[in-house]
C-alpha cells in the first residue's frame, strides 16, 4: 500500500512504516525506552531524508512516552521539581540544537555528525549496559547478590553553586546540574530524533545519584515534554516534521508498546537489559560500518 509523504516528498509503503513503528514500539514497551535511536536510523536506511527522519521520529517518541508518563505519575514515580528543571534545560537545549543543526547543515556535515554521535553515544552506553547486565547475570549464577552501589552524586555536581532540595529524588544539589543535563539531552533530541532516555537514565543514576524509584518516571516526563518542544522547534525552523510519516509510525508503535509492556512483565530483567544492550550495540555497529566503508552514494544534493 503506497502512501505519499507530503513533507518528505516521496512515496513509501505504508505497511512497512507501520511495521517499523510496531517493532520499535515493541522494544520500547519491553525496555521502557522511547526507541527514537532505532527509528531515525531505520528511516534513513529506508530512504527518508535524515532531517525528516529525525524530526518525525521525535514526534513519534512523544506518543510512545505518554502512557508511560501517566502510569508513573499515578504511582508517584516522577520528581516533578527535578522533571521541571530538566524540561526547562531540554527546551533550551532543543533551541541550541536547532542552531547547531542549521550550522552543520549549511556546511554539509549534518549526516556525518549524526552518524558519529550515534556511534559514540550508543557504543559507549551499549557497552556499559552489557557490562553491567553481564555482572548481574554472573552474580546470579554464582548465587551471590551483586554488591549494592553506593548512591552518590558525582563530585563535579557537588561543586556547582546554589543548592536546592529534591525530596523525591532524595537529593540536595545545585539545580544547574539537571539544567545542564537537560540541555545536553535536548540538543541530542533535536539532532538525532531520540528521546534521550538511554543517556538520561544512566546520567541520573551515576552523575546526579537520584533515587532509583523516580529515575525512569522522571526521565520519561522529561522526554515527553522535550520531544514536544523539539517537534515545535523543528516545525518552525527546518519544517521537516512529516505528520503523515509520524502518524504511521505512531499507529504501529503505540500498539507495539502495549504488547511489549505485557511481555516485559514476564521476562527476567537481566535478560531484557542484555537484549537491549545487544540492540543498542548493533545499531552503533551499523552506523560505524557506514562511516568506515565506502557508502553506496557518494553524492548528495541539498
Amino acid at each position: 500500500m503506497d502512501l505519499y509523504l507530503p513533507v518528505a516528498n516521496l512515496s513509501v509503503n505504508a505497511l512497512v512504516i507501520i511495521m517499523l513503528g510496531g517493532g520499535v514500539g515493541l522494544l520500547s514497551g519491553m525496555f521502557g525506552v522511547g526507541g527514537g535511536f532505532l527509528t531515525t536510523p531505520l528511516l534513513i536506511f529506508y530512504g527518508i531524508p535524515p532531517t525528516v527522519a529525525a524530526a518525525s521520529a521525535a514526534t513519534q517518541v512523544t506518543g510512545a512516552s505518554v502512557s508511560g508518563v501517566m502510569a508513573h505519575l499515578e504511582r508517584g514515580g516522577v520528581d516533578l521539581r527535578m522533571g521541571g528543571i530538566l524540561v526547562v534545560g531540554g527546551i533550551i537545549g532543543s533551541m541550541l540544537g536547532a542552531l547547531i543543526f542549521e550550522l552543520l547543515a549549511s556546511v554539509g556535515q549534518i549526516d556525518t555528525a549524526i552518524a558519529i554521535l550515534y556511534v559514540v553515544l550508543l557504543g559507549s552506553v551499549g557497552s556499559l549496559m552489557a557490562k553491567e547486565a553481564w555482572g548481574v547475570f554472573r552474580a546470579n549464577k554464582a548465587g551471590v547478590p551483586p554488591p549494592a552501589r553506593k548512591r552518590r552524586h558525582h563530585p563535579l555536581v557537588a561543586s556547582l553553586p546554589l543548592r536546592w532540595r529534591f525530596y523525591r529524588s532524595g537529593l540536595y544539589i545545585s539545580p544547574l546540574a539537571p539544567l545542564i543535563l537537560g540541555a545536553v539531552v535536548g540538543i541530542l533530541t533535536m539532532l538525532l530524533g531520540v528521546g534521550g532516555g538511554f543517556i538520561m537514565v544512566p546520567a541520573m543514576l551515576y552523575l546526579l545519584g537520584m533515587s532509583t524509584q523516580v529515575v525512569v518516571g522522571t526521565s520519561l516526563y522529561q522526554i515527553l515534554f522535550v520531544t514536544i518542544a523539539t517537534t515545535m522547534v523543528h516545525s518552525m525552523t527546518t519544517g521537516a516534521v512529516d505528520i503523515v510519516l509520524a502518524g504511521l509510525l505512531l499507529l504501529g508503535s503505540v500498539v507495539g508498546a502495549q504488547i511489549g509492556a505485557r511481555f516485559a512483565q514476564r521476562a527476567k530483567p537481566e535478560y531484557l537489559r542484555m537484549a537491549l544492550a545487544a540492540v543498542v550495540l548493533l545499531v552503533a555497529l551499523q552506523m560505524a560500518v557506514g562511516l568506515f566503508i565506502r557508502p553506496a552514494e557518494i553524492y548528495t544534493v541539498q
Binding site: 513533507v7 515545535m232 509520524a246 568506515f292 565506502r294
Partner: protein, 260 residues
C-alpha cells in the same frame, strides 16, 4: 490506456484539420504538440505518472519530404539552485569533502528521441538546444578545477538517473506515417512541484526545423497540498497539530488496552 489512445487520435485529427490552412503558406514544417495531462496532481497514493507526449508534424502543402525527419522530446522540471556534495575519505571516515553550487540544474530532465542524439545533430547544436544530459548547462559557481567539475556533474547525473529524475532514451519516440509522433516519459513520485516544460524538436539533416512546447503543472492536491502548505507557512500550528496527534494516539492506545 485505451481512452488515452482514442483521445489522442481525436485531438490530433482536430489539430490537423484546424492547423492545415495556416501551415500551407509557410516554408518550414510545423509541430502541433500535446501532452496526455497538463495538470498532474500529487495525491495520497501518488507513485509517479507516465506522461505521454504526442503530436503531429505539419508539412507545407501536406507533402511528406523524401528524407525522414526525427523528433526529440524533452520534459524539463523547474530549475533551481542546488548544492551538490561529494563524499571522500578523510582520516578514515567518509565525509562530505567537496561541494559544488549549481545555479540552474533542473530538478527533473527526461529526453526521448527517435534516434540517438549524436546521430541527429552535431555537438554545437546539441549544446545550444541543451539536448541530452551531457549538454545541460547547470551554471556551476564557486569551484576551481575543471576536472573536478566534470566528475561531480557526472556524479549528479548518475545519482539522478538512478532516482529516475534524469532519463535518456534514444528510442522513446515512435513516429507513424511520418506525421504522428508519440513518446512516453516516466515522472517518478519524488519530483518537486512546479511548472514542467514539454518541448518537441523536429530535426532533419542536422538542422532543428521546428520547436514547440507545452507546459505541464505538477502540484500537490487535496490533503497533501494542505499538509505541505501548512508545514511551510504555518509552522507553529502545524507543530501543535503534530503534537496533538501523537498525544491523542498515545492516550488512545493506552486507554484501549487498559480496558481489556
Amino acid at each position: 490506456m485505451m481512452w488515452r489512445g482514442i483521445g489522442m487520435a481525436g485531438a490530433m485529427m482536430a489539430a490537423l484539420c484546424a492547423a492545415a490552412p495556416v501551415a500551407a503558406d509557410q516554408q518550414d514544417p510545423r509541430l502541433v504538440p500535446d501532452v496526455s495531462s497538463r495538470n498532474i496532481e500529487i495525491q495520497y497514493s501518488f507513485t509517479g505518472e507516465e506522461l505521454l507526449l504526442f503530436g503531429a508534424i505539419l508539412y507545407p502543402d501536406q507533402r511528406l519530404p523524401d528524407d525522414r525527419a526525427d523528433i526529440v522530446v524533452v520534459l524539463k522540471g523547474p530549475v533551481r539552485p542546488m548544492v551538490l556534495r561529494e563524499k571522500s575519505r578523510v582520516a578514515g571516515i567518509w565525509v562530505n569533502a567537496q561541494s559544488l553550487r549549481l545555479r540552474s540544474a533542473p530538478a527533473y530532465y527526461a529526453i526521448g528521441s527517435s534516434r540517438p542524439i549524436d546521430k541527429l545533430v552535431d555537438e554545437r547544436t546539441a549544446a545550444i538546444f541543451e539536448l541530452g544530459l551531457s549538454n545541460l548547462s547547470m551554471s556551476p559557481t564557486g569551484f576551481g578545477e575543471a576536472e573536478n567539475l566534470g566528475r561531480m556533474e557526472a556524479g549528479l547525473i548518475d545519482l539522478y538517473k538512478r532516482l529516475g529524475l534524469y532519463y535518456e532514451n534514444s528510442s522513446a519516440v515512435e513516429i507513424s506515417e511520418g506525421v504522428l509522433y508519440r513518446a512516453r516519459l516516466a515522472v517518478p513520485a519524488r519530483v518537486p512541484e512546479g511548472t514542467y516544460r514539454a518541448e518537441t524538436f523536429l530535426i532533419s539533416k542536422g538542422r532543428v526545423l521546428a520547436v514547440a512546447s507545452r507546459d505541464v503543472e505538477i502540484r500537490k492536491a487535496g490533503f497533501e497540498r494542505f499538509v505541505a502548505e501548512s508545514a511551510e507557512e504555518n509552522g507553529f500550528l502545524y507543530g501543535l497539530s503534530a503534537v496533538a496527534l501523537s498525544l491523542v494516539m498515545g492516550f488512545g492506545a493506552s486507554a484501549l488496552f487498559r480496558r481489556r
